[in-house]
Amino acid sequence: MSKVKSTSVEVRLPSQLGYEKVAMSTAAAVAKLMGFREDRVEDLKTAVAEACINAIEHGNKLNDDLSVGVVLSAGVNQLEVKVIDDGQGLKTVPPKPDIDKKIHGEEDPRGMGMFLIQALVDEAEWVKGSNGKSSYVRLVIRLDVNATAD
């Protein structure tokens, strides 16, 4: 298959946990077509999963009447993934998780999704939608032009 230059793939997910796997597979397929290394594909899959889970659980509150939009835009040297929900967006950015505090009961064991997203992709941006809807997170991974997949 020829290298993808600039194209867009869209997926719409029901607001049910588990369907983030559809977005993961789609993102992985596009990333592989673009020539990303296997380790970066795995990073992207986890980041997309966490973004979709947040959209399903917190943005759309598991409401069956709402869906999560995932838009993948493949550029020359980067892949952008937008995960869109009908929530009001982030109110505050949670603090970086602290494993010591979690182990000693001073912090909830949960809440690592955003940290993982930021750690695994090159860019992550949370955008509140207008009128309290269509908020999204934008993830970007960039091709390392000196080290693409074989």
């Binding site: 588990g18 380790d39 795995e42 979690k102 182990i103 064991p109 949960r110 940290f115 993982l116």
Partner: protein, 119 residues
């Protein structure tokens, strides 16, 4: 829609002669895995199961909710004087577990043999 998490318990003996309890997981580890992850851990006798070895070899997918369950297990193990180790994570999830700091409280090994050799 999450793939069901299966769990089973095995008793092993390390080359050094220590009794090790292996918790072997299969499938996804996510928010729906509480019974499999914490339920199987709670079934262990805390007085005798002092060395616990988590087997992730057959785990396909772990998300942050699943990681939270593992951390809950580590909290309880720490309070019970148990030591927890793990093996079988993919290179990616080894990296993720290291990122969130789990390696401070659970030793990670590439294989069961490597884990038992260290115990």
């Amino acid at each position: 829609m999450q793939s069901e998490t299966k769990a089973r318990v095995d008793q092993l003996t390390s080359p050094a002669g220590h009794q090790v309890t292996a918790l072997r997981f299969e499938g996804d580890i996510a928010s729906t895995s509480k019974d499999a992850v914490l339920g199987s851990y709670h079934s262990l006798p805390k007085e005798t199961a002092k060395l616990v070895l988590l087997d992730f070899t057959k785990v396909d997918y772990i998300n942050s909710s699943g990681i939270a369950l593992v951390i809950q297990m580590l909290i309880e193990a720490s309070n019970s004087g148990q030591k927890v180790y793990a093996f079988g994570l993919s290179p990616h999830f080894t990296k993720v577990f290291t990122m969130v700091g789990i390696t401070k409280y659970a030793g990670l090994f590439p294989s069961q043999a490597d884990a038992l050799a260290a115990l």
